[in-house]
Symmetry: C2
Subunit: 335 residues, 2 copies
Amino acid sequence: MPQEHIKDQLAKGTWLTYRPEIKIMDCTIRDGGLINDHQFDDGFVSAVYRACLAAGIDAMEFGYKADKKIVAPGKCGAWKFCDEDTLRRIVGDNPTDLKISVMTDAERTDYHTDVLPKEQSVIDIVRVATYIHQIPTALDMIKDAADKGYRVTANLMAISAIQERELEEALAILADTPICALYIVDSYGSYYSEQIRDITHMFMRAVEGKGIEVGIHAHNNQMLAYANTLEALIIGANRLDATINGMGRGAGNCPLELLLGFLKNPKFQLRPVLECIRDHFVPLEKSGVMEWGYRIPYMLTGQMNMHPRTAIAMREGANPDDYVAFYDQVIEEES
Amino acid sequence: MPQEHIKDQLAKGTWLTYRPEIKIMDCTIRDGGLINDHQFDDGFVSAVYRACLAAGIDAMEFGYKADKKIVAPGKCGAWKFCDEDTLRRIVGDNPTDLKISVMTDAERTDYHTDVLPKEQSVIDIVRVATYIHQIPTALDMIKDAADKGYRVTANLMAISAIQERELEEALAILADTPICALYIVDSYGSYYSEQIRDITHMFMRAVEGKGIEVGIHAHNNQMLAYANTLEALIIGANRLDATINGMGRGAGNCPLELLLGFLKNPKFQLRPVLECIRDHFVPLEKSGVMEWGYRIPYMLTGQMNMHPRTAIAMREGANPDDYVAFYDQVIEEES
């Protein structure tokens, strides 16, 4: 038994070893874009790209492939659409090991038109984001992107609002598609680590023997994005989403700098991320133009397993610090 | 076996039940006092006291009993000493269920003189804080306070810097004293949840059958104070330290509002804590007079298992946002 234990530890990675299978995707520009309608200037996006390259990050997600018939291009920045020429302004032909990712939202993407054949694109990975009721559409999107030559992932959103039996069924369906990874997405930031353990086990069972990795995308509403990412990784999730400085909608995401401090793979470098934060994120945060990170209204929606939209609206409203009024409001809505 | 499992779950508390043995100590004024040399005005201390009462918190720690021969009273606020008349200005005779706690630091407390016999004091709990090399002194302090009629706890600091064999020995010694609780203190905020699990098990074994509870005092250097507090509580720690808004030295502590959102005991109320944050903590934070909470320099000392003092000095210095220079400095000091 002790030998089994050691074998198990080595396979999982220990304090002294590491799991080379673990790959990090930086989602700073994609999830951060949900704060500012994807209106980052090229200098900022380029700084994040260079930081990811220098830090040894495996993949970087730039934004969405939104349907221009649904979202008017004038209403959002270029990273809502990630046109080929937009991406190439930053990455050229991307002659690097860093994979380029975009997200395609089910029912909000004209994927037949806007997802080009792989040979015409600098994009490597298409991540199909879907709510459970959109899975039929998502299945077609997955097939379309895989047929076009991309690595494809399925990101099942808001799983904390799904009943266990339906979730099991959804996972079984998604695990039978040509995806390379299936992501746990804690959209409401409502999971505790104990729950993340159970869910990761459930996802691992669903993909067993299929050559599909489990991923996690955590939100920081309850200050657990990093803790929950570690829990999933310990159980066996090998695809980890993180963002520089934790930037992301509402309470934000798992901070990349924390994750790099934990992972032992020598290919990862913390210093370039700190440099990027100092030079680009600190000035941005101080400017007050964008707000992200743990705050009490997000905590409340996380605790109540609600979408953070009411908390975001409250922070943008006339009384951003009246936590009591917001608490009374969400309690009222619950009852 | 399934029945054992259910029995175990009920004993530990589940999502639907709760463990009435769990008690929370609010340490806002004590740990927060490390930021401002304990110079809180009475209005602020009184607001925290009233919030704790209304929220159903079990105990509140006001500060230290520092030796006035070591710390000149002019150099620190009154909460560094917690004289009887100072405490009574806020709590009167404390005709409530909330227990009043003070901390006594080994080798920095004239405990024979300054810890009065219980019948002359409004204090209920004396928490003896000790580094491992101070344990002989701490043992005498524990005996002294217990003989005088107080509930006494031992808070073993900086355990992440102690070798396991020495730690086992220290716990065995402390578990043989008249304490009611033995606290895990992650002074450097350097523990991951997996480690907290092992350490909590170790503490539980040390106090088994002695009628002593295990407690935890976590720091937020790696954004894990709340996550680690939950881990310890799941394993069986029944004494939880938290602070309003996470206020505390450096990266701060486990936020009380997060913990109350998790615990199911109906005696706990979140709303009064939110009210206190809105009315007293938000203005204080905005004033810029005090800074606390997760920041990258604290993350770095946490990751390197170092005392946060260099990070605190850096944040108070000329270049509080130069994370790269600070990173280079701590790497240099390590090597």
